[in-house]
Amino acid sequence: VRRLAMVILALAAGCGENVRLDPGPRDRFYFPTSVGVIDHRLVVASSNSDLRYDDDTGGSLLVVDVVYPMTVAGAINVSSFAGELAIADPADPRSPCPVAAPASGAVVVLPVRGAALVYLARVAAADGRLSCDGCEVAVSGASRGDPFAAGLACGGGVARAYVGYLRTAAGQAILTQIDLTRTDLSADGAVQHAGFTGTGGLIEIGQVRGIAYDASRKRLYLTRTASGSSTSLRWVDLANDCRIDKIGEVGGCRTGTTRSGAVPAGLELRGIALSSSAVSGAPRRAYLSARIYDPVAAATAGVRIGDYDGLLLVVDLAEDLGGSLDFRIVDQIAIGYGASDVRVLPPRAGKRDVVAALAADDGVLWIYDDETGGRVALGRDPVTGAPLVGHVPSGLAVDPVPLAGSAGGVARVYVGSFRENFVTPIDVPLDAPEDACLITSGGTPGGACIAAGASPWRIGGTP
């Protein structure tokens, strides 16, 4: 009888429902990891990093109107642990991305680590509503997991999303390509995975972290984590509709790296952004963030040791006599701990770029004017030293279309705060980048810098 009772008890327990947590909030940010901008609207991916909400739906992707208080134009729930996002926008003035019909509007590419999914969410051009009807692409595999980095190749009829991974077999550099011009992503070649090999056919160690595409050369640039005394900048040419999953074979894409030693030892390349101006035959200027580490210890340990400072590298990318990628450092600017994202602001007529670079661990956003060499650091209260863009900034975005407000226009930059669940807008007058400032809530671009000691506008947070 006792045995029977135990069986019944066990069956009863088995019939009970699992406790299912609520989906992540769709009216606010929750551990945001990345931000983007489309049609002056802010796109924010939240990660549910503390798993307070449901694993499968605890994350979110929100499109909000940049007004105070913020209003949500579109929202979907995504799986927990969102990574970086990239926006493939057919209407992007700089690099229009011809994503597949039938739905109109842009596609938000969002890798999510835990479930190893990539969301390809649609943003309605008219009102910013988000939709995701089976838009998830499973990218897991035996050799890869934790998709995180996101990038795009747009222009010249090409619309492709790229995803890098935080976890790969043997630490190999692996990249996934998703063809955004296709509606049937199960078709052959629509989703391709590439693992890179280096000198002597050895696998290339270091997870892909930064992705940038040069449409004028159909060339993709990849940065990756350092695992030895030095690293390199890899390129992949996308010409002739080649396949990245067949590198080294007939029909496979061409790929290569900078020469050994071109990237100084002890520098781990992180973010990369290309100049907004491309002159045929001239070197392509690139801006890269880099973290300084101990190359000697790293060579021994096989992993990066130390994180001593961060640099914003100003680099000219060109081909040398032998057709190899040349990495010419023009300038290097110390920006502090946790050098991460880099973005180029909207172009200025007849002038070099203005660049935003994030030193995440220091909580500082740098604005660099490549025309004058001037630079300004934002993010710390000048009186108290308090972090103004968050203790752990995560995600950097630039509105591709300047706002009115000064003669040359005002670029709007956004910095997400992972820990404090807000996004801070920063206005950069393009004709005077040194006047970049954090702004008051609802302030007009270029004209409402916060006063010393005042709190800036924090979208999703307190005013």
Binding site: A239, A265, G266, D294, G323, I329, G373, R375, R380, P382
Partner: protein
């Protein structure tokens, strides 16, 4: 059994041990300075809490990550304690200090100390004259701080009249400022007040600044600015700026510059070989500017090699590099250091000699001590007139002997001869070996090495290979495309997108039109068969290799929109394999209609012997059984070659200049000449190192008269010998069998070296390699034996305190 007794004994022992420990004099470790991401260093004299009544030298370190300046005793390197004795003194400054400069007012009182925050236009002033060390961060009526209106990118101290101090600032946007302070009249013993700032537009962007030391007559004092921009007349180099900031003259350096320093010193007599001060006897003190050349426009393919170039202000207005002391090159070659220089500092001779030893009395005022090793490991002490420290991104601090305008070496390069270790791998019973002067093959590697000619000062450190039909550097398994010209196919090493069309994207363009790559008519193109249409299947060289076919490079085609790097007109080889003919014809047919055939892969091989260095790259085509000399042709010859080579400054633009026949010969000669330029200014002769046996030294370098020693970087005679027992070729040299059978016959010369081992100091393990700043400091007035020092800051929370005045380079780490 009772355990009470042992326990009691143990307790007693423990109590005694504790008591003994308590009785010991306890002394905690002295706290470090507690640096936090040092971005800049400066030494100032002033007052701090450590000694409120006495003027002392202090090291100020800008802690970028903590928004303050750490202060340490510049003599001992020890931290200055804060008012709360548990921590070290830190002077708060504005956000992320990145630049520091300290200037004496020449009155024996407290110095001016200026700090600049990253991305800021304000020169903040630290009150060195008051132990409170308060900081004036905001300009104003009663503040010595000054806002220059644009981001400050670099600072330099400019000598000034007594009781005044001047600092120059390079400003973002192409501006420059000269700011002057003076000892205040209200409180003449102490304070410093702002006099004013002169801000001017330069028209170029200065990225670093320097000024001559104070002992130059006031009217001759100038500012020197490194810049990557072109200056007057399109010249690149350093800008000399008058102190009213109005007049700018160019010091032409043949390349843009990134870092600059200045000194006034004696330079050795051109042919002086002495280690001591006699090398400088009778020499005048001359102003000299030293600049790090920008790597984008220097190197073996450019008009000047990379390194630290010497400039003579007396030549301002044009090319300003002094002449080569040996008369063999048109200018004094730059001083080379490995890696990419990140910081440069120059030290003048110390005020006090390093000891009271009469023999050391010479090392002050005009001369300073620099220590090398002798051949036996003893100390070889040099007297010189200026020393520079160069912090490189390889993690080392290298030293330059400015008096001898050379990179300091650990020992004399002439105490050993390093022609490399020859090694050959026989193929098909033959190998490539060296021939001696009598036309015989030396029996051993040592004897063979003796036939190789190297020249201290010209021979680079490298490993070379002489290979029969070797692969040309950079031209192995390259992407290629084919087209047709004059009915025959051409091959271009490039990767294009889609069919021929206007604006076609072409990547991986190998500029075979440029002679630097060494491609010549008659060379061999080896093409993978897999990219060529049927019926081509090719022939594999081995079971593990892909099938290929070969074609002869009949001629070079000039660059065009179709092949922007130029192309190689192909022809069938003289004695082809059957499949080669099939593939060649298939290739010809595939492009016959004028269409492009992409997706090919090709390797280019020399038609005969080719010399390649791992670092040097293409180094010419040694003839069989005749001498090959990789040698600089002399001071006037390079200019002649430049004039004859229309491709000298070709940047890859299409159309490219025509260059065939004599032009190509001149270009290739120019390419090789530039690879044989001076790499080191050897000053030694056989008597310089007292431990070197003069007789052995003379035998080591027969026929060489030091220090001039102008000669080839590498010279040798190679030929093919028969190593089979049957000796099918008994009389050397043998011939190589045509075809592929004996291809890759190779003679490897590993360990070729000019003998230069740099004198260096390396930051301790656990440190990053990216120095953030460097300054020189004369510690001798306070601690004579320490002599002159260099403080080099690293973002890994340390400052390296180093001096080559001691052997080995004395190094301390301040954390």
């Amino acid at each position: 059994v009772s355990r009470a007794r042992p326990l009691a004994l143990a307790a007693l022992a423990l109590a005694l041990a504790l008591a003994a420990a308590a009785c010991k004099s306890t002394k905690s470790n002295a706290p470090g300075v507690r640096l936090r991401q040092p971005a800049a260093v400066a030494v100032f004299q002033g007052y701090t809490l450590a000694d409120t009544g006495n003027l002392k030298p202090y090291l100020a370190v800008a802690n970028a990550a903590r928004n303050d300046l750490s202060v340490a005793d510049a003599v001992t390197g020890e931290a200055i304690k804060s008012p709360i004795q548990l921590t070290t003194l830190a002077i708060p400054v504005e956000e992320r200090p990145s630049l520091l400069a300290a200037a004496s007012l020449g009155d024996g009182k407290a110095d001016l100390l200026v700090a600049v925050s990253a991305g800021d236009s304000v020169l903040q002033v630290v009150t060195t004259w008051d132990p409170s060390n308060a900081v004036f961060s905001v300009p104003g009526a009663d503040s010595p701080a000054v806002d220059l209106g644009a981001d400050v990118l670099a600072l330099a101290v400019v000598p000034s009249a007594e009781k005044t101090a001047r600092i120059a600032a390079a400003l973002a946007g192409g501006g420059i400022a000269l700011v002057e302070w003076k000892r205040t009249e209200v409180d003449p013993d102490l304070a410093i007040e702002l006099v004013g700032a002169n801000v001017q537009a330069l028209g170029f962007q200065a990225v670093d600044l320097a000024a001559m030391p104070a002992d130059l007559p006031a009217g001759e004092q100038k500012l020197y600015a490194a810049t990557q921009d072109p200056l007057a007349g399109g010249l690149y180099g350093v800008a000399e700026i008058s102190l009213d900031l109005v007049t700018v003259r160019v010091l032409g350096a043949l390349a843009p510059t990134r870092l600059v320093a200045a000194a006034r010193l004696k330079e050795r007599q051109d042919l002086a070989t002495a280690a001591g001060g006699t090398a400088f006897d009778g020499q005048p003190r001359l102003p000299r500017v030293y600049a790090v050349l920008d790597e984008s426009a220097c190197g073996p393919g450019e008009a000047i090699d990379c390194g630290i170039v010497t400039l003579d202000p007396a030549l301002a207005g044009g090319p300003a590099i002094p002449g080569d002391w040996a008369g063999w090159m048109p200018y004094r070659a730059p001083m080379r250091v490995p890696g990419r220089p990140l910081a440069l500092a120059v030290a003048a001779p110390p005020a006090e000699p390093p000891s009271s030893d009469p023999g050391d009395a010479v090392y002050q005022d005009d001369l300073m001590r620099l220590r090398m090793k002798t051949v036996d490991g003893g100390t070889l002490t040099l007297a010189t007139s200026g020393v520079a420290a160069v912090a490189s991104d390889d993690g080392n601090v290298y030293f330059l002997d400015l008096g001898r305008f050379t990179a300091a070496t650990a020992r004399s390069p002439i105490v050993a001869r390093a022609p490399g270790t020859p090694a050959a791998t026989p193929v098909d019973g033959k190998d490539v070996w060296l021939l001696d002067g009598a036309g015989s093959f030396p029996a051993t590697a040592t004897e063979a090495a003796a036939t190789i000619e190297v020249t201290p000062g010209y021979t680079p450190t490298d490993t070379f290979a002489v290979t029969w039909q070797g692969i040309l550097p950079d031209l192995e398994m390259r992407a290629a495309e084919a087209g047709v010209a004059a009915g025959e196919p051409w091959l271009a090493l490039q990767s294009g997108d889609g069919p021929d069309a206007p604006g076609r994207i072409v990547n991986e363009v190998v500029r075979v039109w440029h002679p630097a790559l060494g491609v010549r008519a008659g060379d061999v193109a080896v093409i993978l068969a897999e990219g060529v249409p049927a019926p081509c299947v090719g022939k594999a060289i081995s079971s593990s290799s892909k099938p290929v076919f070969e074609a002869k490079i009949e001629a070079l085609l000039a660059p065009s929109e179709l092949h922007p790097g130029g192309a190689m007109q192909l022809a069938p080889v003289a004695a082809p394999e059957p499949q080669w003919t099939v593939c060649y014809d298939a290739l010809k047919a595939a492009v016959a209609g004028g269409q492009l055939l992409g997706g090919l892969t090709a390797t280019i091989r020399a038609q005969g012997l080719v010399l390649v260095g791992l670092a040097t790259g293409y180094a010419g085509r040694p003839p069989l059984a005749a001498e090959h000399r990789l040698e600089y042709p002399g001071k006037d010859a390079e200019a002649v070659l430049v004039a004859a080579c229309t491709l000298e400054d070709w940047d890859g633009a299409v159309p490219a200049p025509d260059c065939l026949g004599a032009c190509r010969d001149a270009c290739e000669a120019l390419v090789l000449a530039r690879k044989a330029r001076r790499v080191h200014h050897t000053f030694e002769d056989c008597a310089t190192d007292p431990d070197d046996d003069p007789g052995a030294c003379a035998a080591r370098w027969p026929g060489t008269t030091f220090p001039v020693a102008s000669g080839p970087a590498l010279a040798f005679t190679a030929a093919v010998r028969d190593s089979t027992p049957s000796l099918t070729c008994p009389a050397p040299p043998c011939q190589v069998t045509p075809g592929t059978a004996q291809r890759n016959l190779s003679l490897r010369l590993s360990g070729v070296s000019g003998g230069t081992t740099p004198l260096l100091a390396r930051a301790p393990s656990g440190a990053p390699t990216h120095a953030s700043g460097a300054i020189a400091f004369d510690r001798s007035p306070w601690k004579a034996e320490d002599g002159y020092r260099f403080f080099v800051s690293y973002p890994g929370d340390l400052v390296f305190d180093v001096s080559p005045s001691l052997d080995p380079p004395d190094r301390k780490t301040i954390r």
